[in-house]
């Protein structure tokens, strides 16, 4: 774990959204968690449980209703939103350069880095296309490329691979993991794919249905780099099973309630 990665602390974080129902909607309920510098953590949990909201709070985009989020000053953060969030008036290449441009990098440095990132996610050849000319999966990959090209200290990923096929997904997982090992950023990945969560992470956070609480934090002991074959191992299956069973217990509890 490198010292480039940022440490983020969540202390008693709750988030209540104003809605017209009285009391509003409690999306997150007293979340405590400390992200260690350079680690890779995945968050899994049912749809609507507050994962995206939690990432937004970590990024400092949303203030918690109660509790607090501590982040080191001046840390470069990249966020791959659940929706691709591209600039429709920029072509693929210029979209991929955006974050570096915003962070004040020079064209000489950001041009090759953007090109490299595009190649990584399989968008070479589409540099001059506009977002509306891409498929859904291509748009998400562009969004991922844009974040990766920045080489941030903190990378927040909100289901970045949900819209791509399994094979591409496998390839991108490998790329992501190897980038992480090289660059040493702190990574937080929201995913619905428990295998992906376990394969990529130091720890997996399992959240409850709304209002989102942390049910369990599961350490993943496998050393890095991890070989693709790890996924077929019994140990791996045991761990994913553990995550799933925590998820499932709560799910049933809710279904009954």
């Amino acid at each position: 774990m490198s010292d480039k990665g940022a440490a983020v602390g969540l202390e008693g974080v709750s988030k209540r959204f104003d809605t017209r129902k009285d009391g509003g909607l409690l999306a997150l309920d007293k979340v405590d968690f400390a992200l260690r510098p350079g680690e890779f953590v995945s968050i899994v949990g049912p749809s609507g449980c507050g994962k995206s909201t939690l990432l937004r709070i970590m990024a400092g985009l949303v203030a918690p209703s109660t509790g607090r989020c501590t982040r080191p000053d001046g840390i470069e953060t990249a966020f791959v939103f659940q929706e691709a969030a591209l600039l429709p008036w920029r072509n693929v290449e210029r979209n991929a350069q955006l974050l570096m441009e915003l962070e004040g990098h020079s064209p000489d440095s950001y041009r090759p880095r953007a090109a490299e990132a595009l190649k990584l996610v399989g968008l070479a050849g589409f540099e001059k296309s506009y977002p509306h000319q891409l498929s859904g999966g291509m748009r998400m990959r562009l969004s991922l490329a844009r974040a990766l090209a920045l080489r941030p200290g903190l990378l927040l990923l909100d289901e970045p691979l949900a819209a791509v096929d399994e094979l591409t997904r496998d390839v991108l997982q490998e790329e992501l993991s190897s980038l992480w090992r090289q660059a040493g950023f702190t990574g937080v990945l929201v995913t619905h794919n428990v295998h992906e969560a376990v394969y990529l992470s130091n720890r997996v956070v399992v959240m409850s249905p709304r209002p989102g609480r942390i049910l369990d934090v599961i350490d993943v002991p496998f050393a890095f780099p991890r070989a693709p074959e790890l996924r077929a191992s019994a140990d791996f299956a045991a761990l994913t099973g553990q995550v799933t069973s925590v998820l499932r217990a709560q799910h049933h509890a809710q279904a009954v309630a």
Partner: protein, 267 residues
């Protein structure tokens, strides 16, 4: 969805319906002037009479059009710069907007004719005052539409820029302004005609010293002499001037938006 083989062809295809309607309108006009308004050229001159008046006064007409063009263009340009910059400043904060935007509205609600003396007092009996009137008339649509555009930035993108600590200026240039362009161009299209009207109203008020003057002055002359055919020629010139601005601004808008905005992507 098929591409036209040449830009010239595309232009021709785009222009065809407009030209068709124009011919139809002129036909109708001629018909009217030859029937209901037969012998009433002082009310509705025939196309031929207007053409004759145009030919007879070609030099004056051209000079006047040019002079109005200059004033309107300056007023319009000023309105574009001030309008976009003003909206940009106002859109920086809700407080600024709440305190100042209503006054931009008021500015356009003031009947210019009534405050003309103050304009003349401050800017003098000269073309500058005409430009100012044109400016006042064309300002608000630009401010208003630009502000709407700047405020319609998608939430996700705004967050993305906030995350990367993009300064207000950077967000403005790289996010809010480009995102607002479709709205801004709608405002510019509205103001194109208004800037010409403004210049003409300005000339009604301020005149031209003792020079020949622009279309506003010539319209007053023609009205004074009940020379309706010439009046029509002048009104048509003024109208076409406004239309020219409109076309120019529309073309630029289409050029800037063609890659990405629904309104310009073609059906």
């Amino acid at each position: 969805m098929t591409r036209s083989s040449s830009p010239a062809l595309a232009l021709a295809r785009n222009a065809a319906p407009v030209v068709a309607v124009a011919l139809l309108a002129i036909g109708l006009w001629w018909l009217l002037s030859a029937t209901v308004y037969q012998g009433k050229g002082y009310l509705l001159p025939s196309p031929q009479e207007v053409a004759a008046a145009t030919a007879e006064n070609a030099a004056t007409l051209a000079g006047a059009t040019l002079s109005t063009l200059k004033e309107a263009l300056l007023g319009y340009a000023l309105a574009i710069v001030v309008g976009i910059a003003g909206a940009a400043v106002l859109a920086q904060s809700r407080l600024l907007e709440r305190s100042l935007y209503p006054y931009a509205v008021l500015l356009q609600t003031v009947p210019v004719v009534a405050i003309a003396p103050l304009i003349v007092l401050w800017f003098g009996y000269n073309e500058l005052s005409v430009v100012i009137v044109s400016f006042i008339m064309s300002l608000f649509p630009i401010i208003n539409n630009t502000m709407l555009g700047l405020r319609s930035t998608s939430r996700n993108l705004a967050e993305l820029f906030a995350l990367h600590r993009a300064s207000g200026l950077v967000s403005f240039w790289k996010l809010r302004l480009p995102g607002a362009l479709p709205h801004i161009f709608a405002g510019l299209r509205i103001s194109a005609g208004l800037s010409v009207i403004g210049a003409i109203v300005g000339e009604f008020i301020i005149g031209s010293g003792n020079a020949e003057g622009g279309l506003g002055v010539q319209i007053v002359f023609a009205q004074g002499r009940m020379y309706t055919a010439l009046l029509f020629a002048e009104v048509i010139a003024a109208t076409l001037l406004g239309f020219l601005f409109f076309l120019a601004v529309s073309a630029i808008g289409r050029l800037l938006l063609r890659h990405w905005h629904e309104s310009a992507l073609g059906s």
